[in-house]
């Protein structure tokens, strides 16, 4: 655990991805927005979104075959994962962004709005993890 050099290197790649997308086609690399637009957006605006998501999923899944510490195939309680997934989908749609759109891109643009979002979701996530692990005593 705590493999910070890999974290930093991976982070730089994510930053380069966001720069490439803005430089080439003028789009913000926010995953929640790209995904919801790919499924529900205007027809003429879907191809680049689908291409981005396909590239991300294929390259990510491929890279995971070669990283030194691939994620363990742990299985959390299904109900917890489903509730969590619903809240993530719902909240990112209402708040117009997630860790990539508000975090990687919004902070890079020095957006006040994105900074407020990042502080809010970080605080809410830390409070939730605290409650889960140290109040409810859930280890997962």
């Amino acid at each position: 655990m705590n493999d910070w050099p890999s974290g930093f290197l991976g982070g730089v790649l994510i930053g380069c991805s966001a720069v490439l997308l803005l430089w080439s086609i003028g789009r913000i690399a926010g995953i929640s927005g790209i995904a919801s637009g790919a499924l529900e957006g205007a027809r003429g605006d879907r191809a680049w979104r689908v291409a981005f998501l396909v590239g991300m999923m294929l390259a990510g899944a491929l890279a995971l075959q070669y990283v030194p510490a691939p994620p363990r195939a742990q299985t959390g309680p299904a109900a917890l994962l489903i509730v969590a997934g619903f809240l993530v989908g719902f909240g990112t749609r209402i708040g117009n962004g997630c860790t990539s759109g508000h975090g990687v891109c919004g902070l890079g643009r020095f957006s006040r709005r994105s900074l407020a979002a990042v502080i809010t979701f970080m605080a809410a996530a830390m409070a939730t993890t605290f409650a889960m692990r140290h109040v409810a005593g859930f280890a997962g």
Binding site: S6, G10, L13, G26, I31, G55, G89, A117
Partner: protein, 137 residues
């Protein structure tokens, strides 16, 4: 395939590789960062730091251009208003993120890589987004 679609494919591939290399698809690493009062794992801070170091410098240079190199215009949010909707959405997202340790990118890559956890998480995420989109109308 036109050049814009190819550029998006390449950008997505970089993003996915970055998520995999940075260990962000491992939700225990993410939860380890969020658990500030436990055995704290700072990895996510280095990921975010590395990514924002690049965008903070390069976005500025890119946005000096008249438009993107492959044509069209920059689609950068003009809205910088902090309203209740933004904070409510971010808080709801944060609660879900803190419960499972998945945000949208890692959930998509995890699902593609065969992580069973992501298979439960992802359809619920799509449903949540869809319902929020309906309610907003």
């Amino acid at each position: 395939m036109n050049r814009a679609v190819l550029a998006a494919l390449g950008s997505g591939a970089l993003f996915g590789a970055g998520l995999a290399i940075s260990t962000m698809t491992d939700r225990s690493v993410v939860l380890g960062f969020l658990d500030v009062f436990g055995d704290w794992d700072p990895t996510l801070a280095f990921v975010m730091g590395g990514a924002v170091a690049v965008t903070a410098i390069a976005f500025r240079l890119v946005l000096r251009r008249v438009g993107p190199v492959l044509g069209g215009e920059f689609h950068v949010p003009a809205n910088d208003v902090i309203d209740r909707r933004l904070i409510t959405g971010a808080a709801i997202f944060g609660i879900g993120w803190g419960l499972a340790g998945f945000c949208p990118g890692p959930a998509l890559v995890g699902a593609a890589a065969g992580l069973v956890d992501a298979w439960f998480f992802l359809p619920a995420m799509v449903a949540g987004s869809f319902i929020a989109g309906r309610l907003a109308r």
